[in-house]
């Protein structure tokens, strides 16, 4: 890129001096990040290879992983959590991201009135904490308060109401949709910024060729914002496979009813810290954490090395 220019004889008479400024730019971020994030994480991964043997912490190799996948109770809850987590992710990809993109596309229409208001309002839920969102929706969907059945009654659909959060077959979908409600603002904002970054000339050229409205969105804008869609997809993936707080506040650490909303985050929490009559197990917790790490690593590698490589970058 530009290091050939820094070697320009006018500024840097010596060819390629040590470029200390690169180290200075990188140092603070790398130091904080390594000390507070990477080293503790490595320590956790290391723990997954250790366990208590006769009251002493000892190296046990992969036997924690063998236990996780062969112990009937543990492996059943692990596969259940992984399956639920996949559904959780699929609902986000199918609802949150398309809705976010659609909202951003509508908001970026030039000279749209009240655009600022809409954008500000739609982003509000994203700012709220899980504690707030979880409790608000628990109250709204609660049959005791009767907000949800009352509203359905107004449009004549009262028969549709069920205590969604309390039924094993609908609880996961309900919780996922609450999460979608909260986070739709993030894809909206990222895509919105990307749409604003498309230069006028490109759009004017398209208009001269008679490409407007819908077809302009599909043929011109969408290809240009594909890198941003890639970013929001991978952010969604990572966020969903780390998720914990919302399920914890809405359904508790047991992720009820009957484990139907249990995802990897809540499973990790219960295993790591223990819950009710179950003892906390540091080594098994670290083992689940390591498996989560590997799942996420696989997804991100797929994005970085396969999807992002194939995406074309446009520079204006």
């Amino acid at each position: 890129m530009s290091d050939t220019d820094t070697a320009d004889p006018a500024i840097a008479p010596i060819k390629r001096p040590t470029r200390w400024h690169i180290a200075v730019f990188l140092a603070p971020a790398v130091l904080v990040y390594t000390a507070i994030m990477i080293l503790p994480l490595i320590e956790t991964l290391r723990l997954s290879l250790y366990n208590l043997v006769d009251g002493q912490t000892a190296f046990v190799g992969l036997s924690n992983f063998v236990t996780l996948f062969s112990d009937p109770r543990l492996s059943a809850s692990f596969w259940n959590a992984l399956g639920n987590n996949l559904i959780f992710f699929v609902i986000h990809m199918l609802v949150q991201n398309p809705v976010g993109i659609a909202l951003a596309a509508m908001l970026s229409i030039p000279k749209l009135r009240f655009a600022t208001f809409y954008r500000t309002a739609i982003f509000v839920p994203t700012l709220l904490s899980f504690v707030i969102v979880g409790f608000i929706w628990k109250l709204i969907l609660s049959p005791i308060w009767g907000i949800a059945p009352g509203m359905l009654d107004m449009v004549g659909l009262k028969w549709l109401f069920a205590p969604w959060l309390g039924r094993p077959d609908s609880a996961l979908i309900a919780v996922s949709l609450i999460s979608v409600w909260q986070y739709v603002g993030i894809p909206m904002m990222l895509i919105y910024a990307a749409l604003l970054n498309i230069p006028e000339e490109v759009l004017e050229a398209a208009e001269c060729d008679g490409i407007t409205g819908w077809s302009q969105f599909w043929k011109i804008k969408l290809p240009l914002i594909l890198p941003s869609i890639g970013i929001i997809s991978i952010l969604t993936f990572v966020g969903n496979f780390n998720a914990f707080d919302l399920i914890y506040t809405v359904q508790g650490a047991l992720a009820g009813p009957d484990g139907s909303t249990d995802i990897l985050g809540t499973l990790l929490y219960r295993t790591f810290f223990g819950f009710q009559n179950q003892m906390g197990d540091r080594s098994m917790g670290a083992t689940i954490a390591t498996v989560m790490f590997l799942i996420i690593l696989a997804g991100v590698s797929l994005y970085l090395f396969v999807i992002q490589r194939r995406m074309r970058r446009y520079q204006f």
């Binding site: 530009s2 990477i38 994203t126 707030i132 929706w137 009767g146 910024a193 604003l196």
Partner: protein
């Protein structure tokens, strides 16, 4: 004529869609705020109504303010959030500039190393972080939270900012170099102002998880002196589950500062997006 009419219908439909979604987004918040000002009976009898003189009641707020120091919690949250964002933006932009601007040995590796943190939740290292903070004597201090959140925010900030910095024109930077600007001056005076919209976006994305985090305040700083708003609200709601007035008031108190902060902040965000982004 016909063309004007279709465009009118089209913009009407767009407004309808946007208004519907705005209602969906705001309704739960509205419901909480409105009902927090009503008496217990009115909350259940007619949850959708706004408070009238006969149903107006501040009993919930009185309970909340008598039980916890919400202003202190708010101050703690504000200090932690502001310092963390400042550090994330400064350190993140510097690192992103180094990665996107210079070609040096290990550039790709360093980028991957720093991006690792986007995919791994920092929570997985909680036990070791707690041990480290105990050793450093930082437990129950806001410094511990600022450090953790800075580390947590950096990877995404670097990732997004370097995407944007690749789009800053090379000609501009080279013109600066020819004029004798140092690399630091190029970064602080040419590049930073140009990526301000991206910085605003990153600031919002960094702020949300920090402000809303429950985990680290609970583990690293649960003391009364260092409690954040989220932790304070969670503990309060846990104790008063059946007192709906108190719960709704506590929720409202947790929402309001965020809304105020956001209204102040969103102006800057919009200015950022609309000013330098395109031209």
């Amino acid at each position: 004529m016909a063309k004007a009419r279709t465009s009118l219908i089209r913009s009407g439909l767009i407004h309808l869609a946007l208004i519907s979604y705005t209602l969906i987004a705001l309704f739960p918040v509205f419901l909480t705020l409105v009902n927090s000002f009503k008496s217990r009976n009115a909350i259940f009898r007619d949850p959708m109504a706004v408070p009238t003189p006969s149903t107006f009641s501040l009993i919930g707020y009185e309970t909340v303010l008598a039980q916890g120091d919400f202003f202190g919690y708010f101050q703690n949250s504000l200090i932690v959030t502001v310092f963390s964002i400042a550090l994330v933006l400064l350190f993140g932009a510097m690192a992103a500039f180094a990665l996107s601007e210079y070609r040096f040995r290990g550039n790709l590796l360093m980028g991957l190393y720093l991006a690792l943190g986007i995919m791994i939740p920092i929570r997985l290292g909680t036990v070791a972080i707690l041990q480290g903070m105990v050793a450093a004597g930082l437990v129950n201090t806001l410094t511990a939270l600022v450090l953790v959140y800075t580390a947590q925010g950096l990877p995404l900030a670097i990732f997004i900012l370097s995407e944007f910095m690749r789009n800053v024109s090379d000609d501009l930077k080279n013109a600066g170099r020819i004029d004798g600007l140092s690399e630091y001056a190029i970064f602080f005076r040419l590049v930073l102002p140009l990526v301000r919209p991206a910085m605003a976006t990153v600031a919002v994305f960094t702020m949300i998880p920090i402000w809303n985090d429950l985990w680290f305040p609970l583990i690293l700083a649960p003391g009364e002196e260092t409690k954040t708003v989220t932790l304070g609200a969670q503990m309060f709601i846990g104790q008063f589950v059946t007192n709906w007035n108190a719960v709704l008031s506590a929720l409202s108190l947790a929402i309001l500062p965020v809304l105020v902060l956001y209204v102040i902040f969103s102006r800057q965000l919009i200015r950022g997006i609309t000013s330098g982004a395109v031209k």
